[in-house]
Each structure stands twice: as structure tokens, then as C-alpha cells.
């Protein structure tokens, strides 16, 4: 008997960088998160060669989820080419051997910071969102053990009160990104800092959404075909960002989520935030083959599932 026969062949690192115990623990937690939609499941959050707060939560989920047959897209604020996205993508590809893409339709796993792509995700795709703060009750209850009890009791009265206070003070809901949602009618959940524009995308979606906060060591999930409702009053509705009148300076498209680019002399021009989508629109305009999938919002700004955005009519009239 030789030592070489007993030992594993030498590897500089485990598949997906995380050790076997780390991956198994994450996988156990992910299965529980899917079984309890919207509930924050604690996990150990291993060390990675990037700092906590730079997407380590999403990265750990992606690394324990993908196999060599997967195709991964990484975006940061909609962009495939920003520093954070490019580095995470390179790291994931080096550690797991996955192929990478900027095309939403070609990806099996999409890791994202702060956006859901414009094109609709389909069954079997997984969206991994990086979460800075998983606790939607933080603003009304800074003590996390008390917040845990509030989740246990489904006691969200303080959240409704803060919503009411916003209305009284400002005349509208002032929460921009990470607008709190009620998942499966039970858990209040922070959808990570995606703009309100993307919040309805999670409602009765065909894809699986996994959300993970590396610094806060909690992960949670929205399974496919699950009710995800932004909190709103019966007479004052949740609204998405106003995109009326904004025209993309690159593609000429309307009614998609736009980045505002400030001009030197004041004012601003707009550009679609989802760069993978922009690239496909440009290819199509130049006559190159491009498969553009159906989008969450059509060119008139209507959401694809009727009745989800109850304020849609008023918002388009520029209330």
C-alpha cells in the first residue's frame, strides 16, 4: 500500500474554491431557504479572497451552486463590464470552469448586484442577488434579535407605520431601492437594493431567486411561482420609478430602466442600465443576428403580468 494510492490527487484548491464543508453547509441552508420562502437562514459565511461587502454572499452561493456545465453572467448595477462584476466573473470562471456570457438568455446562473435583467428569466435559471443588508426591519428595529421575534410573530405593524409616516411627511413612499416585499403572504423581505422597477419581476416568476448577505451571514430565497407583493395601502399604491420621457442615448429605446449620465453644462442624458440588453439591441440595429427575449416591461412601459402593478395607469400619466 502506497500513500499515493490512499490520498486524493493533489489539488491547489477545492472545486469552486470553498472547501467541502463550506459547500455542504451552504447547500443545506439553500435547500431550507427554498423551503421557507423569504425566511432568512443563518450560515457561516466562509473567507474568500475578496472583502466582505463586495459580493461575498452572492459569490458563495454561486460557487456552491454551479458545475462545469453552467453558463454564468455577472452584473453590477446592470453592467457586465464594471470592475466588481468583471472580477467576480473571472474568479468564478477560474475556480469552477464555467463558461461566461453577457447574454441573459444564455445564462443558467446570473449573479447580480442591484438589478434584475430587463429580459424575462425563464424556468431553470437561477438569479443570485448580492445583499448588503438582509433585514427589512432594520430601520424600524435596530436590534436584530427583536427583529427576529417580529418575523416569528409576523408582526410588521411598525413597518406599516413607517410607510404611513412617509406618506404624511412626503406625500408618497420615499423608499427607493430594496423596497420591502411580503413573500408568500408571510415573511417581510428585503429584495436587496434592486430598484422598485425590478421588484415586480420577482412576483410569480418562472426562475429561482437566491439572496445572500456574506457580511450579515444570512441567505434567503424566492422560489419560482411565489407571491411577492410590495407593501402598499389599499388606496395608495406602490409605484415603480418614472421612466416616461427618458430615451436611451445609445439605442433610442424607451421604458426600460435608465442610468442618468450628467452633462457638463447641467442636465443629463439617459442610457439603459442593462448593458447586455443594450449590446443585443445594437447588434439587431446593425443587422447582426441577435436573439432578444421578451422583456418585463414592453415599449409602452406596461408590465407583462397584468394587475401586478396596481398603480400602472396613474404612473404613466405622470401623477
Amino acid at each position: 500500500m502506497k500513500l499515493a494510492q490512499l490520498a486524493h490527487p493533489r489539488q491547489d484548491y477545492s472545486y469552486g474554491f470553498l472547501d467541502e464543508f463550506g459547500k455542504r453547509e451552504l447547500r443545506r441552508r439553500m435547500l431550507k431557504a427554498v423551503a421557507i420562502p423569504g425566511h432568512q437562514v443563518p450560515y457561516a459565511s466562509r473567507e474568500l479572497p475578496i472583502a466582505r461587502g463586495w459580493g461575498t454572499g452572492g459569490l458563495q452561493v454561486t460557487l456552491s451552486l454551479v458545475g462545469p456545465g453552467d453558463t454564468v453572467k455577472v452584473i453590477d448595477q446592470g453592467a457586465d463590464d464594471s470592475v466588481n462584476a468583471a472580477n467576480l466573473r473571472r474568479f468564478i470562471a477560474r475556480m469552477t470552469g464555467v463558461s461566461t456570457t453577457a447574454d441573459t438568455l444564455a445564462a443558467t446562473v446570473i449573479q447580480s448586484r442591484h438589478r434584475v435583467p430587463e429580459e424575462r428569466l425563464r424556468e431553470g435559471q437561477a438569479l443570485v442577488l448580492q445583499v448588503p443588508d438582509p433585514e427589512p426591519l432594520r430601520r424600524v428595529q435596530p436590534d436584530s434579535s427583536k427583529a427576529l421575534e417580529m418575523h416569528a410573530d409576523a408582526d410588521y405593524a411598525q413597518m406599516w407605520l413607517s410607510l404611513y409616516e412617509q406618506l404624511v411627511r412626503f406625500g408618497r413612499f420615499v423608499q427607493g431601492a430594496s423596497y420591502p416585499v411580503l413573500v408568500h403572504g408571510r415573511y417581510l423581505m428585503s429584495p436587496s437594493p434592486i430598484p422598485r422597477w425590478d421588484t415586480p419581476d420577482l412576483h410569480q416568476a418562472a426562475h429561482l431567486t437566491l439572496l445572500s448577505a456574506g457580511r450579515e451571514k444570512r441567505l434567503y430565497a424566492v422560489p419560482p411561482y411565489t407571491d411577492v407583493r410590495p407593501i402598499e395601502f389599499e388606496d395608495v399604491f406602490f409605484q415603480v420609478e418614472q421612466m416616461v420621457g427618458r430615451v436611451c442615448a445609445v439605442t433610442g429605446a424607451r421604458n426600460k430602466f435608465m442610468d442618468a449620465l450628467p452633462l457638463a453644462g447641467g442636465g443629463s442624458i439617459f442610457r439603459i442600465s442593462d448593458t447586455g440588453y443594450v449590446a443585443k439591441l445594437l447588434d439587431a440595429a446593425r443587422g447582426k443576428p441577435a436573439t432578444i427575449g421578451p422583456t418585463y416591461y414592453d415599449d409602452e412601459g406596461r408590465f407583462f403580468q397584468p394587475g401586478v402593478l396596481r398603480d400602472e395607469g396613474q404612473a404613466r400619466n405622470g401623477r
Binding site: H8, R24, K32, V34, I36, P42, G67, H184, P223
Partner: protein, 177 residues
């Protein structure tokens, strides 16, 4: 990827999609008793514990490093050959608490898909409703499940037939008939 890593990854993704789309069979990398072994390999290590009434399978669990626990404390239950008295230990399985519902157990049971009993499933992961034909499970399992499952409390079921696995998370409403 080593063969063990490939197996564990394939098993995990099958379980993830099984729980994401309840009632839809997913394919495991191994069948029969080997399917149970694959799930134990993918999920168990010395950081967790498990229970199985099957002595042979319990020995396999012990080799993974996981502690063998009594049914009321075990987060993972394995029933490669469920019998009538399995219901006693299933009834003892933890359902979690309101502050920590994730401590509710995962039960892995063998079954016959396409069996006599027809279930109608509704809930997260299911667009509308889906019908599932399943048999070979202890009688009164569905009655017991209805009793023990109060979302977010309850157990998550993984039903194994050959190399196929069907997930029934606690969020799924099961109607017999």
C-alpha cells in the same frame, strides 16, 4: 472536479430544483439505495446529525461523520424502506420553531411514483396546481403531515423512486384526491 464532487453537485442541484418545483421529478446521479447514499453524501458531515431506522443505512451515515441522533433531534431522516412503524419516528421529527423554522427536519423516503394515491399540490414553485401520483408510503403520512405542518413550521419531504426525486417543501399545500 473529482468524482465525489461531481456526484455531490449533481445530487444537490437535483434536490434544489426538486424543492423549487414541487411535484416535478428530478434526476439523481444514482438510483435505489444508492440515491439515499448520494443524498447523505451531499448533505451530511460532522456538522450535522441524522436518523435512520435502517441499521445498514445508519452505519453509512456514521461513516460520513454525522452524529446518529434520536428521531426527535435529527435534522435529517432517511427511510430507504418505510414501514408502518416508520410513522412513529416521522411524527417525532422536529418541525422547527417560529424564530428558527429552518430547524424543521428534512425527511427522505422511498416511494413509488405513479402509485395509487393522487395528490393535488399548490403553493410556491407551482403555477396554479399540479397532480402527483405516489404510493408505497406509510398510511396516514398525509394526515400526519397536515397535522404537523403549520407554515413556516413543518418538515420538507424528499420522495425517492429509483433515481427520481420529488420535493415537497413545507410550503406546499397537499390535498389528497
Amino acid at each position: 472536479m473529482s468524482p465525489a464532487e461531481t456526484r455531490q453537485h449533481a445530487t444537490f442541484t437535483a434536490l434544489l430544483w426538486a424543492l423549487s418545483y414541487p411535484g416535478r421529478p428530478q434526476r439523481l446521479p444514482a438510483g435505489g439505495r444508492a440515491a439515499f447514499a448520494a443524498i447523505a453524501e451531499a448533505l451530511l458531515d460532522l456538522e450535522t446529525g441524522a436518523f435512520s431506522p435502517d441499521a445498514e443505512f445508519a452505519a453509512l451515515i456514521a461513516r460520513s461523520g454525522a452524529r446518529l441522533l434520536p428521531p426527535q433531534r435529527a435534522p435529517y431522516h432517511f427511510y430507504p424502506a418505510p414501514e408502518a412503524d416508520s410513522l412513529e419516528s416521522i411524527a417525532a421529527a422536529p418541525v422547527g420553531s417560529y424564530t428558527e423554522p429552518e430547524l424543521g427536519a428534512t425527511l427522505v423516503l422511498s416511494c413509488h411514483l405513479g402509485g395509487p394515491a393522487t395528490l393535488t399540490l399548490r403553493g410556491p414553485g407551482i403555477a396554479g396546481s399540479v397532480r402527483l401520483r405516489v404510493g408505497g408510503l406509510p398510511e396516514d403520512l398525509w394526515l400526519l403531515r397536515a397535522e404537523r405542518t403549520r407554515f413556516p413550521l413543518g418538515w420538507d419531504l424528499l420522495l425517492i423512486d429509483g433515481a427520481e426525486v420529488v420535493g415537497l417543501p413545507r410550503s406546499t399545500a397537499v390535498e389528497v384526491g
